[in-house]
Structures are given as structure tokens and as C-alpha cells.
Symmetry: C2
Subunit: 339 residues, 2 copies
């Protein structure tokens, strides 16, 4: 194995995840600004509520990782330009649409530290504006005229919805397995990173680097989501704009819970998790106590590390490019994220 | 004016709307069956809830007017075949997705006489499965490889969402005008009929008949929705599977209300409408009494007739084809629908 596992100790002194993400943003500053222009140009509507809701969500910030992934893939593949910006914008709009619908489905009240659109504008508005953003995303993709990219992105959109439905089905199911959870994550999160990287690479036609970049995106996406799920249990400390305990309250089966339930030492402890995810009242503090005691955070991150390693391996096969190194840093630091 | 207005008396002995729709279905029987196959093939998913929800909706029936419009346009334009079926299926899936989301937004309990998916499966499920159907629709369109069609259909999807948002904004606004209501109808209903006809015609490449068919679809769509809105006030008698009074309860501003409010004879009557649409309790029987007294049904249908006439005019410019006559009958009878 040529690539060292990105464990905590290996990467002391290496860029942290926020530093790697910031480096990516800086290197792609002009392209990202042009992509933001494309997005804002396409949020326009005579129906004033649409830009209001959409701008509320999109201006709220976020790391813009998905469009950055598309733009980086395009640059590395020599496919930068207007098509890449259209695709990066499309990917961000698909992401925004899924966030609007997710917040309705989850009854969420906060996202990135801001009130969610469903709270500010209403559930109905969020459903309909999400549909608008989704349709606009397709309109943008079509502008590139790249049929294989359109095919891949429309399939990816199907897969994302399937992942969301699958997550809804496993919600409250304490018997959910690691494999089931990885299926959810692959579909609902990794697919869009994968499609973003693949689309960016193929923005001007078939690219020899598209599959390596797709593999990078997919594996990075899984690692990223696994760490995100750990952050929701406060593992690794408080992160700005991120609320803790949402997954627990919504009875979403994520890796920390799956691992903690398996590590339970008594019927009483198993009963605690069964009650918590079966709809009973349960203390988040007790959940965290058990998770800390059994070092579930480290076990969950260990899972992430395996996928980050795969992402690094995929990136290493790419041609030399300054952005390649940043992608490697991003993947390596993703699994070590909060620590 | 070459075409007679399709008034009640002119068309005694001519096919009724259900007869014209049935004739269209019969003439396109094989193509519609093949399109249904395409739809069922694309509802498959490892996530079992998706085919369950989708099948619940699609098997519930419906007139299949939108795919029939696409298939008829394709046949008339000499563009029948697999692409036309893909597009007809895509149009029906977009329609199904909007129905799923509409029922969530409107809190509807019945559609076509069956319990709605949001009641049977839940709102969350309806939102997410709607997204899946929408994405599948794009996947199907992409299979045709016809970029101008993709562009038109993705723009149409944006317009439909805009129409839905606009409708939500005018809900409960007794000051809404005919023009505002026609904007809503054009966007939320006519656009998909227009896009269906245009896409069918262009299924194998640019077609000289695409614009006439698009105009037919758009004008037919407006007439169809205006009559549908009148049916919701029981104008023209009970129609199977159609519940009455939904728009009134949901405070949707439709043509009967706009006309009845304008025809009100006293402050008391204006007050009745203002209270009913401002959120107060109001009697549907009283609304119907005022609507009947002022012959609002006929006035609303008169609006529809104008658009039906335009649709007929567009159809008359098409080359001779057995389906052309059926499209003319369909448009003529649409405005005379319930009578």
C-alpha cells in the first residue's frame, strides 16, 4: 500500500480539513466567483418568492465543496471554462434543492447556524422552490450539450432520491447494519461528489481522467459524510454552525449509533438504544456517555479513513497539477477532520 | 374567423370531451401501451417504497392526456417511435411528480377518487418519491439525445414550479385578477401540454409542425384548466372521481371566484367572498348559490372557449392526419366539457 493511512498522528503539521478546503477555494477563486454569477443569474424569476427562498439558502454560505469538486476536476482534466461553470452551478443547485427538501422531511429548524427556509418561508414554499432549483439545474446542464454528462447527472439525481428514501426507511430501525448505512451514504452523499467530479472532468467531452476523479469524489464523499455523522454526536468538538444531536432526535441510524449498539454491554444498554430509536424519550447525554466510553468516535473515524485512503489512491493516478495536491490534502484531512 | 366557437348548441351531436379523449386513446393504443411499459420499467428501484408510491399514483389511472399529446404530436409529425415514447413517459413522470408535491402542498386527501399518496405513505415519502420521478423523467429525456427538446422540457419544468409558487402566493388573495390567474394557469398547466406537444413533434429532430403543435397544447391546456376549475364548483354536474369544493376550502383563487367577486351586488356579498378567501369560515353552498345566480359557470366556460378556439386554429394548420381531427374534437369539446 503506497499511501499511508491518514491517522491522527501521521498528519500532525499537515493541513487541517478547513485549511485544505480554504486552499481549494483560493486556487479556484475566479472560477468559483464566475460560478456564483451563473447561479445568481439563474435564480431570477418574476415570482419573487423564488429568488428570496433560493438566496436565503445559497447566501447562507456553506463550503461549496461540490462545485469546487467539479471545477477542480475540470481544471485537472484541461476542461475548465464556461461548461465547467455551468456544471458546477448545476451541482450546487441540485445540492440546494435536496437541502430544501431534506429540511422539510426532517422538520429541521437550523442549518449552518441560520434558520432553515422551511421555518422562514414555510414547508410548501420549500418544496416548490426546491423543484424549481432542480429544474434550473437541468437547464444549466443542458447548456453544455454534453449528453454523457447529462445522462450521468440525471442518474445521479435518481440515486440521491433513492438514498433519501432509503434513509427514511431505516430511520428508527435499530437493527440497521453498517452495510445498510453505507448504502444510504453512498447514494445520498457520495453520488453527488462523484457526479460533480466526473461531470467537471467531462465538461468538454470524454476525458481519460473522468473515472479516477469520479472514484476520488465517491470515496471522499463517503468519508466526508461519515465524519459529518460523527460531528453530530459532538465527536471531535463543536464545529461552527453545526448543531449537535439532530440525528439522534430524528432517529437517523448513523455509524456512531450502529457501532454503539453493537458495543452495548448489557440488555439495559441495548434497551436504551432500542428505546431511543424506537420512538421513546431518551437522553442525548446518556448516548454521548456510552459513545465516549466505548471510543465510538475513533471507530467511526476509522471507517472514514479507509474511504479517504481510497480517494487519495484515485487522486494519485491523476496527472501532475497543483490542484491534485490539494485534493490529496482534502481527502487525507477529511477523515481526520475534527481532531 | 374560420372556426365556430365551440358553444353548447353548436356541438350537439359532436363528440363529448370523454368521447374525444377515448378516441385519442384508442387511436394511440399501441403507442400508449408501449409508453406505459417504459414508465413501469423506469419505476424500478431497490428501494421498495419508490415503486410502491409511484405505482399507487400512476396505476390510479387518469386520462393520460399529456403522454397522449406527445404521442399524437409525434405521429402527426412523422416522428413516432422509441424517442416519442421516452418523451411521452417523461412528460407523464413530470406530471406525476408535480401531483405528488401538489398533494403535499395542498394537504389533499383524495385524487381521482383514491386516497392520495401523502395520506397513504406520508408527506415525506411523497416529497422524496416526487424528486425521484422528476429525476427519472430527465434520464428518459436524455436517452433521446435531442438537445433542443431537453432545453425546452427543462425550461418547462422551471415554469411549472414558478406557476405553483405563484398559485401559492395568490392563495387567499381575493384581489387576484383574471390576468394573474391566467398567468398561474399558463405556467402550472398549459406549459406541460405545450412542452409535451412540442417534444413529441421534435422527438427525432427539428419539425416544421412543432410550433403549431406547441400552440395547440398551450391553448388546450388553458381551456382544460379553466374547465377543471369550474368543475371544482360543481359547474356542469358531478364528474366521476372528482371531488367538489377543494379549491374553495384551500382558498385557491380560480376563475369562478374572480368572476363571482366582481359580480357581487352588495358590500355584504363582497364581504362573503373576502371572508371566505381571507381565512374565515364560509359556506360552500352560499358560494355556489351566488355563482349559480350570476351564471358564473357560463362566463368561466366562455373564457375557456376562447382558448379552445385558438387551439383549434393551431391544429387546423397541421397536415392532414386522422389524429388531427381528434385533436380538433378534443379542443372543441374541452370547453364544452361538462355540458
Amino acid at each position: 500500500m503506497a499511501v499511508a493511512a491518514p491517522s491522527r498522528t501521521d498528519h500532525l503539521g499537515k493541513p487541517s480539513f478547513p485549511e485544505a478546503a480554504a486552499a481549494l477555494k483560493t486556487m479556484l477563486e475566479d472560477e468559483l466567483a464566475a460560478t456564483n454569477e451563473v447561479i445568481l443569474d439563474h435564480l431570477g424569476s418574476q415570482v419573487s418568492l423564488i429568488p428570496e427562498v433560493a438566496t436565503h439558502l445559497i447566501q447562507a454560505g456553506g463550503k461549496r465543496l461540490r462545485p469546487l469538486m467539479a471545477l477542480a476536476a475540470a481544471e485537472i482534466s484541461g476542461a475548465g471554462g464556461q461548461n465547467a461553470r455551468y456544471l458546477a452551478a448545476a451541482v450546487e443547485l441540485i445540492h440546494a434543492a435536496t437541502l430544501l427538501h431534506d429540511d422539510v422531511v426532517d422538520d429541521s429548524a437550523l442549518r449552518r447556524g441560520f434558520k432553515t427556509a422551511n421555518v422562514v418561508f414555510g414547508n410548501k414554499e420549500s418544496v416548490l422552490v426546491g423543484d424549481f432549483l432542480f429544474a434550473r439545474a437541468f437547464e444549466l446542464m443542458v447548456k453544455t450539450g454534453q449528453l454523457p454528462v447529462l445522462d450521468r447527472l440525471s442518474r445521479a439525481s435518481c440515486t440521491i432520491s433513492e438514498g433519501e428514501v432509503l434513509q427514511l426507511e431505516t430511520q428508527g430501525n435499530i437493527g440497521a447494519t453498517e452495510a445498510m448505512h453505507l448504502d444510504v451514504i453512498r447514494a445520498k452523499t457520495a453520488t453527488l461528489f462523484e457526479a460533480a467530479a466526473q461531470a467537471g472532468s467531462s465538461a468538454c467531452g470524454p476525458s481519460p481522467h473522468a473515472e479516477a476523479l469520479a472514484s476520488y469524489g465517491a470515496n471522499f464523499g463517503i468519508a466526508y459524510q461519515l465524519v459529518d455523522d460523527a460531528l453530530d454526536y459532538g465527536l471531535g468538538g463543536q464545529v461552527r454552525g453545526k448543531s449537535v444531536g439532530d440525528d439522534f432526535r430524528e432517529r437517523k441510524m448513523t455509524m456512531p449509533v450502529i457501532l454503539a449498539y453493537r458495543a452495548a454491554r448489557s440488555d439495559e444498554e441495548r434497551g436504551f438504544w432500542e428505546a431511543a430509536f424506537g420512538g421513546g424519550e431518551a437522553s442525548f447525554e446518556e448516548a454521548r456517555r456510552l459513545i465516549d466510553r466505548d471510543r465510538i468516535g475513533e471507530a467511526a473515524l476509522h471507517h472514514a479513513e479507509g474511504f479517504a485512503e481510497e480517494a487519495v489512491r484515485a487522486a494519485e493516478s491523476l496527472p501532475e497539477h497543483p490542484l491534485k495536491e490539494v485534493l490529496v490534502s482534502l481527502a487525507v484531512s477529511s477523515a481526520a477532520r475534527p481532531f
